[in-house]
Amino acid sequence: MTTTAPTREQREAKLEGMGCKRKRVEDVRFTQGKGTYVDDIKMPGMLYGDFVRSQHGHARIKKIDASKALKVPGVVAVLTAKDLKGVNLAWMPTLAGDVQMVLADGKVLFQNQEIAFVVANDRYAAADGAELVEVEYEALPVIVDPFKSMAPGATVLREDLIGKNTGAHGPRKHHNHIFEWVMGDKDLTDAAFNKADVTIKELFSYHRTHPSPLETCQCVASFDKIKSELTLWGTFQAPHVIRTVASLLSKIPEHKIHVIAPDIGGGFGNKVGAYPGYICAIVASIVTGKPVKWVEDRIENLTSTSFARDYHMTCEMAATKEGKVTGLRVHVLADHGAFDACADPSKWPAGFFNIVTGSYDFPVAHVAVDGVYTNKAPGGVAYRCSFRVTEAAYCIERGMDVMAKKLGLDPAEFRLRNFIKREQFPYQSALGWEYDSGDYDTAMRKVMDAVDYAGLRAEQAAQREAFKRGETRAIMGIGVSFFTEIVGAGPSKNCDILGVAMFDSCEIRIHPTGAAIARMGTKSQGQGHETTYAQIIATEIGIPAADIMVEEGNTDTAPYGLGTYGSRSTPVAGAAIAMAARKIKAKAQMIAAYKLEVHEGDLEWDIDGFRVKGLPEKTMSMKDISWAAYNSPPPNMEPGLEAVSYYDPPNMTYPFGAYICVMDIDVDTGVANIRRFYALDDCGTRINPMIIEGQVHGGLTEAFAIAMGQEIRYDEFGNVVGGSFMDFFVPTAVETPKWETDFTVTPSPHHPIGAKGVGESPNVGGVPAFSNAVNDAFSFFGSTHIQMPHDHWRNWEAAKKFGLHA
C-alpha cells in the first residue's frame, strides 16, 4: 500500500491559517449553552448585592435609613458612603483623571446614581432590602443641557471641585467645566478662512447613546481572609487594567489579586471602565468574608454605566470655489455627565477626535474641545469606537456633505476631489497624525460602480419630480460616507492608561507533541480571538490552528496587556502574536539546522517546516522540531520552545472604507425604509474573511440603530426617558437592513502582518452614511442639517418644516 505525500495545497489547508474562513472554535461551547459567563458562576455561601439608586437628577441627601432593609430575612448588610469612607473608597479615580462617587456622598448628581448597596443571601432578598432603604432628598436645580452648563450663575454640580481651578487636563474656566483641549494651528486656520471663497458653519450634535451589550456589567468578588487574596471574576474588556486599579484602590498587593474575565456577552466599550458595582462587591466580600455577586439589570445598565457620545460639534469648513478644501475649524462641547469617566488614553481627554480631518487633504485645521459636567450618568466611552473617532467621522462626513451642497457639487465627486492620494502616504495630517497607508480613490470608485451611483442619482431626480407631482409620498436619500479610522492604541510615546503604556502581549508555548497554547493580554467579547489568533500563529509557524489553544482573561496566567477595545486587538496583540511566533521560528530554525546538519542559512521556510535549499526532500516539520526542542536540543541551547512578546506599536493603523446607503422616507409617517446599504472596508491584511464579514454586519447594525433612533434622552428634570429595551432602540431582525459587503486590501506597512483592525469601522462609517442619506433626502427641499437620531417623528418634523405635508 502506498501513501501519497500531501500536496502543498493540502498542507496549507490543514493549517487553517490567515486568509481562510476558519469556523470558530468558540462556537462549540456557545451553541450548546456551555459558555461560562459571569452570572453562571456559583460559589458556596455566595451573597448578592443590589443597589438603591437615586430617584432625582440632582439632590442633597438628608438621610439614609436602612433599618427596615436590615430586618428583611436574608439581608446581611447595607453599605453606604459612610461605610466606604472607612476604607477610603467612597470615591474612586476614573480613567480620565477625574474622581467619581462609588456611593452617593452627601448628594446625588444623576438619576439612578448608586446610593446604597444591599447585600443578601440571594438576589430576591437583596431586591427586597433595596426596596426598603429609605432615602430623604432635598431636590436641587438640574442641568441636563450642556449648553447651559457654563452659564453664569449655573448651579454648582461638583462641590468637591470648588476652588480647584485646574483639572487633570489643565485650567478649568467655570465650576462646571472639566477641560479644554486644543489641537492644530489657530493662526494658519484663521488665515485660510479669511481668504476662502466658500465657508460653512453648522452644529452637528451626536446624541447620547449606550453600548448596551446583551450581557450587562457584572462581577463576583471573593476575598480570602486567610490568604489576604482577592479573586474577581467580571465582565472586563481590560482585565489587567482592572487588577492594577483594584490594587491601587484597595491597597491589596497586585500579586494577591486574581482577575478573571470569563466569556463575555458583548462589550462594545461598556466593559472597559471600573464601576461602583465592582468596588461595592469587593468591599462587601471583604466585610462579610463571603463571595459577593453583583449583576446589573438592563435599566441600571442603560442609565448608570457608561453612556457614549453626547458631543456637540460646531464644524466650520473653508474651500475654494473649485471645490478644494482649504481649512477646518471645529469646536466641540462635550457632555461628560456627572463625572468624567471617559475611557480614553490618559493624555487624550477628547480621545483621537483630531482625526476629524478625515480622508481629506486639509492643509490646516484647528480643534478645541470643552468638556462640561451635567446631571447625567457619567462616562463618555468608546461605543464600538476608537476614542471619539465615531464623533470625528460624523463631524467631517456631515461637513463634507454640507459643503458639497453649498458648492453645488455631488457629495461623492466632492470627496474624490479632496481625498488624500495614494502617493501621499505616509501622510502627515494637519492635526498631527501620520496615516500609514491608503488608497481612497480606488475604494470610492469601486463602491460607486457597484451601486451604479450615477443611476441612483438619476432615479432620485425622477422620484423627486414624481413627489412634486403628487404621485408618491416618499422621498429618496442617498448617503455617501468615506471614513478613515485611527485604531490600535497605541504607541507608548503617546498612549497610556493610568501611566501604563498601551502595548499588548502574547506568550506562546509549543508543547513537545507540536501542539501549542497562546496566552494574550487582550480579551474577546465575541470577536473570535480564540479562532483568529490561532490562524496567525498557524501561518507564522506552521502548526495547524486546530492544535493551538488561545487563552485570554486570566491575569495570573496571561502576560500583561491593555485589553480589547478601540479595535486594538489585531493591530497591537495581533502584532505581538506574530513577533512571538517569529522568535519561536528563529529558534526552530536553529534546531532544524542542527538536526539536518546544515547551516541555518541553508534552510528555507516551507508552509509547515524548514527545508534545505535545493534539496526539497530534506525537510523537518514544526511537529518534529517541537519534539526535538524537548528531546534533543542542540548543545548549548536551552530546551523548550516558547516565547513572549510585548509589542509597542510604532504607529497607529488607519483602516478606511466607503459606504453608500439608499433609503426612502415616507413623509407622512417619517418611516425610513433602507433600500440598500453597500459597505466596502479596507482593514489591510484579512485574517478571517468570515469573521470580518460578521464584524461588519454587526457594526452596521449598531450604526443603523444609533443613527435611526437609539438614544438616551433626559427630560428637563433629569429623568431618563426610555431607559429600557422598550424605548431604547435595539433593532430586531425585522427592522435590520440587509447588508452588502466588499473590500480592498491596503496592508499597513508597519504592522508585522499588515493588518489594521475592523471591529469598529462599520459603526464609524455607518452612522454618517445613514445620517447623510436622511439629510440628502431633505436637502433638495431646503434643509441643511437635521440632527440625529433620525427616528420616525423627527423625520416627520423635518418633512413638516420643509413643507412636504402640503
Partner: protein, 288 residues
C-alpha cells in the same frame, strides 16, 4: 428586577377563581398570559399579595362559531387566534391584529382576554373589539353580565370590570361575508406599542361604503371609537375628500401622550394617516 412576594393560586374552575377574588378582595389580581402583568410586577409597579392564575380553567379556552357570532374564551392566546382557521375565514382582522402584537414568544403566552381586560390604551385588541362591536362576558360570584367593548373602557387601567369579576369570554358578531378590514399600526419596532394605530371594519355595496366602524389604539387614555370618522366615509367610494374628512374627524377624538415615540402633534397627525391607510386597505379588500 425581582417581583415582590405573593401567594400563588391556581384555581381549576371559574367558580373557584371568582370565590378567591371575592375572599381576597383588593389584595388579589388575576393573571392570564402574564405578558403585561409579570413585567410590571418585576418593576414593582404592581405588587399584589395574591396572584390568581387562570391558566388551569378549561372553560376559559376555546373558539366556538355560532350562527351569527363567535365566542372566544378569554384564555385563548394570540398564537391560537393566529392559527385558527375558523377566525381566518370569519373574522380575519383578528389574525391581522394578533400578528402585530409584540413578538412570537409573547403571542404564545399573551391572551385575548388579558389584552382586552387590561385597560392599557397601548393594547391592540380593544380597538378591534370596538370595530367588531364585540361584547365581553363578565362573571362574578353574584352572576354574569355582558358589557359591550364600546362601553367597557373608562380610563387608563380603569374598566367596567367590577371588583370580584373576571372577563371570561368575548362574543363577536360575525361580520358579513366580503367585508373589508384592516389594522394599520405604526410602531418603532417589533415589540413596541403603537405610535398610532387604527382598526377598520367596513362593508361595500355598489362601490360605496355601506357600513363602517373605526377605532384607535394608543391615541387616547383608552382605545377609542372614531364614529364621526366612520360616518364621514359611509356612502362614499372613499375618494380623497372622504379620506381626509375621516382622518380629520378621527383626529378630533385623539388625545395621545407625548412620549419617546413623538410629540402629541406628531402622534395625532400619524393617527389620521393610520386611519386613512386602514380605510384604504379595508376598502380594497371589501367585495361588493
Amino acid at each position: 428586577m425581582i417581583p415582590a412576594p405573593f401567594t400563588y393560586h391556581r384555581p381549576k374552575s371559574l367558580a373557584e377563581a371568582t370565590g378567591l377574588l371575592v375572599d381576597l378582595k383588593d389584595e388579589a389580581r388575576v393573571v392570564a398570559g402574564g405578558q403585561s402583568l409579570i413585567p410590571i410586577m418585576k418593576l414593582r409597579l404592581a405588587a399584589p399579595d395574591h396572584l390568581i392564575d387562570l391558566a388551569a380553567i378549561a372553560e376559559l379556552k376555546g373558539i366556538a362559531r355560532g350562527a351569527t357570532s363567535i365566542t372566544i374564551g378569554a384564555m385563548t392566546t394570540q398564537a391560537e387566534l393566529i392559527n385558527s382557521s375558523v377566525l381566518a375565514e370569519s373574522v380575519p382582522i383578528l389574525r391581522e391584529t394578533a400578528l402585530q402584537i409584540a413578538d412570537p414568544q409573547v403571542r404564545y403566552q399573551g391572551t385575548l382576554g388579558g389584552n382586552v381586560a387590561n385597560g392599557d390604551p397601548g393594547n391592540d385588541m380593544p380597538a378591534i373589539m370596538m370595530c367588531l362591536d364585540a361584547s365581553y362576558r363578565l362573571v362574578g360570584r353574584a352572576g354574569a353580565r355582558t358589557v359591550k367593548a364600546r362601553d367597557f373602557y373608562l380610563g387608563t387601567y380603569v374598566t367596567a370590570l367590577n371588583a370580584g369579576e373576571i372577563l371570561t369570554a368575548i362574543d363577536i358578531p360575525v361580520p358579513p361575508a366580503g367585508h373589508g378590514f384592516a389594522y394599520a399600526k405604526l410602531k418603532r419596532k417589533i415589540g413596541d406599542y403603537a405610535t398610532a394605530a387604527a382598526g377598520v371594519v367596513l362593508t361595500v355595496s355598489g362601490g360605496k361604503i355601506q357600513t363602517c366602524a373605526i377605532a384607535l389604539s394608543n391615541l387616547a387614555d383608552t382605545a377609542v371609537a372614531a364614529d364621526a370618522a366612520a360616518k364621514a366615509v359611509i356612502g362614499t367610494a372613499l375618494d380623497r375628500t372622504a379620506l381626509s374628512a375621516a382622518a380629520q374627524a378621527a383626529r378630533g377624538v385623539m388625545a395621545p401622550a407625548a412620549d419617546a415615540r413623538g410629540t402629541v402633534e406628531y402622534r395625532t397627525d400619524v393617527g389620521g394617516t393610520m386611519v386613512k391607510r386602514a380605510l384604504q386597505a379595508a376598502f380594497a379588500r371589501a367585495k361588493g
